[in-house]
């Protein structure tokens, strides 16, 4: 019989973060696959410059507690990774939010700005990504821990672990343009960057105009799971959001990234921490959805333009007769299809 995905909820306040993190990891044996690994990447959610008490970003004390646990289990390098956000570079964000202090405190820890990292184009052949530009640091990590923040999202109701992977897209312009394809993008990203441990900072969450401009909402919990979809499904319920309303969550479950419904909750009872996050007025939500549809259409148009430019480049480099010899018709058709309907991330 298939084992249920286990999610642990531990009550925590600002003074008991480390204890709560330890307890949550212990209950699900969260680092059982870690021994022997050489490079661990930890991705907090640092989508802006506001502190964790504003509800916008992951509390560095949670990341520090995880680092301490990792150091007990394995003698490895730890990279705290993030890309540039719309307000500042990842380097500035690390500095302002106290993450650089961790590099001073722990010699095996460094903060890596993935936007400045060497990138390699990986042929993904995913649902939406034909290829994906992957930072070398992520490519050579042996173990990935996603440390998200519990927040509402103006376009998708909820954001947590799966959506935190969106920050691994190194091209910021692409990140701005591709919100319309979120379900498929997150499925692709969470396939290639599937976390082996997911932790959600739900001590102070964000409600309203999340994930960047909302209001802080005190919840007082740490959520952890080895299954990112299950962690998100439980966290959404804690925020009073039905997981079925979150499109990308349903889609990820369909793609077998994790379990959506069959979940065993450990630690404290979900009803003891459950609350109701305020959401934006419906009219703003629908306006946002309409803009996403337009964005999707415009991306398809720009893909078509790119296809025309690639065709010119290929033909001018090697000529049509040679191209015909070097690529089969099915290859060429596949290339046309992928160029128009898929994205190079």
């Amino acid at each position: 019989m298939k084992q249920k995905s286990r999610v642990v909820i531990i009550k925590a306040d600002l003074n008991s973060i480390e204890k709560a993190v330890n307890e949550s990891i212990d209950l699900i044996d969260g680092l059982s696959d870690l021994p022997g690994k050489k490079v661990v990447c930890i991705k907090p959610n640092l989508c802006g410059l506001k502190s964790s008490s504003s509800g916008q970003t992951t509390d560095p004390r949670i990341v520090e507690a995880i680092i301490k646990r990792v150091n007990v289990v394995s003698n490895c390098k730890i990279n705290i990774v993030e890309t540039n956000n719309s307000q500042a570079s990842a380097d500035t964000t690390f500095e302002k939010l106290g993450y650089m202090d961790l590099t001073d405190k722990y010699p095996n820890v460094r903060c890596v700005n993935l936007s400045k990292d060497t990138k390699l184009r990986v042929s993904l052949n995913g649902e939406i990504f034909r290829t994906l530009s992957v930072p070398e640091t992520m490519l050579f990590s042996d173990y990935f821990i996603n440390v998200a923040k519990l927040k509402t999202h103006v376009d998708y109701y909820y954001t947590g672990v799966l959506k935190n992977a969106y920050g691994l897209l190194v091209d910021r312009h692409l990140r701005m343009q591709c919100h319309g394809f979120m379900d498929k993008i997150l499925a692709d990203l969470n396939t290639i960057f599937k976390p082996e441990l997911s932790v959600i900072d739900a001590v102070v969450g964000m409600e309203g105009f999340g994930p960047t401009d909302g209001k802080p909402k005190y919840v007082g919990a740490i959520i952890a799971s080895k299954d990112p979809v299950a962690a998100d499904a439980v966290a959404a319920q804690i925020a009073g959001i039905k997981p079925t309303k979150v499109g990308y969550l349903k889609h990820a479950a369909k793609k077998n990234i994790g379990e959506f419904k069959d979940i065993e909750v450990l630690g404290c009872d979900i009803n003891h921490v459950k609350t109701k996050f305020e959401f934006i007025p419906r009219k703003w939500y629908y306006l946002g959805r309409a803009s996403l549809r337009l964005q999707k259409f415009s991306k398809r148009c720009s893909n078509f333009a790119r296809f025309l430019s690639l065709t010119r480049s290929a033909l001018s480099t090697i000529g049509f007769s040679d191209l015909e010899k070097r690529a089969s018709f099915s290859d060429m058709f596949g290339l046309v299809w992928d160029t128009i309907f898929k994205i190079d991330g």
Binding site: K37, K38, V39, L120, R121, V122, S123, T131, V134, M138, L139, F140, S141, D142, Y143, F144, T191, I192, F193, K194, E196, L310, S313, A314, T317, I318, D322, L323, K325, R326, A327, S328, D331, G334, L335, D338, D344
Partner: protein, 352 residues
């Protein structure tokens, strides 16, 4: 920036496809003169590319004082003579591969270049492909552990390409230069770059096409330092459709902790590492460094030709060694000649 005045000696296939257009495009150079023994050909090219000075005797070009650097694109049997003469005139020289027909010729070229203090580069353009550069970086950083086995394979149409047809390339093939000397030199050099010079070489060469006097398919095995085994397979194929052989152009290095497979002609490499999370999820991961599209063939190869010319010019301007120096060309030649000798004598050639 001051432009270097350059010339091209020998205006065959490689000169027309690579040297002439890339010198014209490069902002560091000014293509001042071209030379070919065939007057019709050289006049046609001069007219096509608007080149002012035309020569049918390369000695006249070298002594004209018009150029500071030349590309030598004549048949391999003439490389040594032309390069030595160019070096004696103090002209920086880019010589197409293979460097020479024997080690004595190569040594003479190297000594003359060194004595006259000129930059001497050899045309192993694959060294500039970003996928091979990345493969080398990963190998050196131990991303696949300790290398234990390497394989380089390439099947090309070579002189059997109808377009090349009855040109000098084919007559050269009939006379002297087999597929191992021709395409094999490229991948032999890639192996040397990755693993160092071979210590032992054995080989089997053969010919399937009637009327051809040289090898058109060859299999070479070699032992490198630290007991690393390597092999080279190379063939000229008469198959008219490139797709038939497109998968037969790989440089593969197997290590104790992973594997690298780099497309000989670019732009991608595949990578597997036993610990990497991405490899564990996706298995072997196909990577394309730089700006290239993994599905557009030969864009990166064209770029590598541009890069080798640019590197040669930059090495002159910055007074540094070219990335692929004459010495590197000699190493590849030594490897290839050992394979020919191993085939002839049916023995293992010791190069220690």
């Amino acid at each position: 920036m001051k432009q270097l005045n350059v010339g091209v000696i020998g205006c065959g296939h490689i000169a027309q496809q690579v040297h002439i257009p890339n010198y014209i495009e490069n902002s560091k150079s000014n293509l001042e003169a071209v030379c070919d023994a065939n007057e019709d050909v050289v006049n046609l090219i001069a007219k096509k590319y608007n080149i002012k000075n035309v020569f049918t005797d390369y000695q006249e070009l070298l002594k004209s004082g018009l150029v500071e650097a030349v590309s030598v694109c004549v048949p391999t049997s003439l490389h040594s003579k032309v390069v030595v003469d160019a070096a004696r005139c103090g002209i920086h020289t880019f010589c197409e591969k293979p460097l020479a027909l024997n080690i004595n010729e190569a040594d003479k070229m190297l000594a003359t270049a060194s004595n006259n203090n000129i930059n001497f580069a050899v045309g192993f353009n694959l060294r500039f492909l970003p996928n091979h550069i990345k493969a080398k970086e990963y190998l050196d950083k131990g991303k696949i552990g300790r290398p234990i086995f390497a394989r380089a394979e390439i099947i090309t149409s070579g002189p059997y390409e109808p377009k090349v047809g009855e040109g000098f390339y084919e007559s050269e093939a009939k006379k002297r230069i087999g597929c191992l000397f021709d395409a094999g030199a490229h991948i032999a050099y890639l192996l040397i770059w990755m693993l160092g010079e071979p210590l032992e070489v054995s080989a089997s060469l053969s010919t399937y096409k009637e009327g051809v006097e040289v090898d058109d398919h060859a299999a070479v095995t070699a032992k490198f330092q630290n007991e690393v085994l390597g092999s080279i397979q190379v063939a000229w194929s008469h198959l008219p459709d490139y797709r038939a052989v497109e998968n037969s152009r790989i440089l593969e290095i197997v290590g104790t902790e992973g594997i690298l497979q780099s497309d000989c002609l670019g732009p991608s490499l595949s990578f597997y590492n036993t610990t990497s999370l991405t490899s564990r999820i996706k298995g072997i991961v196909k990577l394309t460094p730089g700006k290239f599209d993994p599905k557009i063939p030969f864009e990166a190869l064209a770029w590598s030709y541009k890069q080798e010319i640019d590197d040669f010019l930059e090495s002159i301007v910055k007074k540094r060694e070219p990335t692929v120096s004459g010495e590197e060309g000699r190493k590849a030649l030594r490897f290839i000649l050992a394979a020919y000798e191993a085939n002839r004598s049916q023995s293992i050639i010791n190069l220690k």
